[in-house]
Amino acid sequence: MATQAKPILQTTSVGSFPKPDYLSKARTKHRRGLMDPDEMTALEQQATREMIQMQEDLGIDVLVDGEMYRGDMAEYFAEHMRGFEISGLVRSYGNRYYHKPIVSGAIERPNAITVEWWKYAQSLTKKPVKGMLTGPYTMMDWSFVEYYPNRRECTLALARAIHDEVADLEKAGCTFIQVDEPALSARTDEVELAIEAMGIVTQGISATVATHICYGTFDKIYPRMLDLPLDHIDLEFANSNFRLLEHFEKHPFTKEVGYGVVDIHTHRIESVEEIVAGIKKGLEYIPADKMYVDPDCGLKTRTWEESKAKLANIVAAVEIVRAELNAN
């Protein structure tokens, strides 16, 4: 969906947005069996429309559907594939808990999972909407693997299923597909496995494929992660006060970057000046036409107001930097 006039420093988001109150309440009712599925879908569509509108109003360049119909990013795909069960609650961090999937049988993807939602979101805007998937290594690492004899076999089975989803998204017209691998650095001796699995996912795909990686021991996986067979890597920079950039000193970053400039785990709204400074730091290492600017990670843990304020400041900061670059 890239046009020739695409401005530098495209603004985007990593994926999730906070759910509006009416949707959270409806989801609770739905879990308790007190909500008609059609009514639920109508509310999810309403929320998706609001998400797209909000991003349009803010002036974001590459949109996401906000994942109004998803819960946790691993759990959602586990629910829509064969071979998974959902466990009881386990802690993610602080006071956050999730239902960790259990791989209790052979993994299969009988039907497309996200394609209808992507089509719906794309029908609401002329701007490109990203396809959003969770990668095979992360799905494996964030599940209890009971069925497969080892982590590798489970990961490769997931890669085959996710490849089919990527191919279906591409067939539907999606040109920018993000396959998140936040767990990439979980076990540094398994980076090659994650790369091999991504090779299966992206085989024969011509759409731009991106991944998002976060919160890891970056020094142990960089520059090896540049071997991921895809075009674009989205990383969090604000969370570590942009110290990740030090790694690019020795080994230049060779792909497009999704450049996280606001911390999604704090209520504090970063100022425009602060974000401008962050972008400029990054531009010392990454060319402007290869840099997409976004929050560190999905915004679903923030409130609506916080999310909007953070994104608005990102857009304002990008406009300032664009103007300066164009003036020069």
């Binding site: 466990s87 009881g88 609650l89 386990v90 802690r91 993610s92 961090y93 602080g94 006071n95 808990y97 960790k100 259990i102 690492d141 964030w142 209890f144 693997v145 009971e146 767990a183 650095s185 979980a186 076990r187 919160y215 890891g216 021991t217 969370n239 570590s240 911390d263 785990h265």
Partner: protein, 322 residues
């Protein structure tokens, strides 16, 4: 043979009644309750975690680390010149810790978590083991803006934690367990680790234990046994070959903890497997110095399965003892 956990216990379950702590923290975040109200709930949930361990049949219990925000920063972030920072992934657990940000020399002024140990001692009908994350592991997660290199940071943390451990010992706990999973990832740091451990344990009375997990301890077994701890716990789910290595090693009187259930996978071990593993451990470690444990703290499992794993461990030990 002593049956015990390695620290954490799931703080919520799947029913509404088992989620009081989660709700209380939400309400505190929204300023609907005071911090003291939260502490009452945390005490309550801690008491339940202790009771569950007792009910399952453990010999030594912990407070379940119910009050810990994460497994690294609980003590460290309360020390002078250490602040709560951003999130970092904690090993390969899909959980996250608050990075301790170090902005000045780390010292120790007064006990910061000893009261929690005192509470557990008062609550528990069984001996209580307190857990402290060790200086090396804490240092590896720190955002150091003061020292500039690992060694002085680790050594100052060791000195500060030494004072805290003495304060914890004074509450009447039966054992203090030091968690140092990070050393398994960085065996090259052994010399520093040994120096820090000597400082950490300097003058500490009572029974002390070292817990290692989330990595392969095989290359370090003899080194670990040479440290000034009475007990060393090994994660045999991650590194099943630890048992073989122990077979050929002079234990030198150190008590050995062997894990027989996997704290990182919901798959429930069969009674036969648990019993077999305990019997194998009994072959290698004299019964009077053998400790049987899960492979790590239990908070990585759903609560129900965590309890089932403890029960399976106790059942396996009961049949093995016969």
């Amino acid at each position: 043979m002593i049956l015990t956990g390695l620290g954490s216990f799931p703080r919520v379950g799947d029913t509404t009644e088992l989620q009081v702590l989660r709700r209380a923290i939400h309400r505190l975040d929204r300023n609907e309750i005071e911090r003291d109200d939260l502490l009452v709930v945390a005490d309550d949930v801690t008491g339940q975690a202790i009771q569950e361990q007792v009910r399952a049949g453990l010999d030594w219990v912990t407070d379940g680390c119910i009050r810990w925000e994460d497994m690294v920063s609980h003590v460290a972030n309360k020390l002078p010149n250490v602040h709560r920072g951003g999130l970092l992934r904690y090993f390969d657990s899909n959980t996250y810790v608050r990075q301790p940000v170090v902005t000045g020399a780390i010292g120790w002024e007064q006990p910061v978590v000893a009261a929690e140990a005192a509470f557990a001692v008062a609550e528990s009908p069984k001996p209580v083991k307190a857990v402290v994350t060790g200086p090396y592991t804490v240092a590896k997660y720190c955002n150091d803006q003061h020292y500039g290199s690992l060694e002085p940071l680790v050594m100052d943390l060791a000195a500060a934690l030494n004072s805290e451990i003495k304060a914890i010992m004074a509450t009447g706990v039966s054992c203090v367990q030091i968690d140092e999973p990070s050393i398994l990832q960085e065996p090259g740091d052994w010399a520093l680790f040994a120096r820090a451990t000597a400082r950490l344990m300097d003058g500490v009375p009572g029974t002390t234990a070292l817990a290692t997990y989330f990595g392969d301890a095989v290359p370090l077994v003899a080194h670990l046994l040479s440290l000034p701890f009475h007990i060393v716990y090994f994660d045999c789910s991650y590194a099943p070959l630890v048992l073989d290595t122990l077979r050929g090693t002079d234990l030198g009187g150190t008590h050995i903890g062997i894990s027989v259930v996997d704290a990182r996978n919901t798959k429930l071990e069969s009674l036969e497997d648990v019993r077999g593993n305990i019997e194998m451990a009994q072959d290698i470690v004299p019964s009077h110095s053998l400790h049987i444990t899960p492979s790590a703290g239990l908070e990585f499992l759903p609560r129900k399965r965590a309890i089932e794993k403890l029960e399976r461990m106790v059942a396996g030990a009961t049949v093995a003892a016969k």
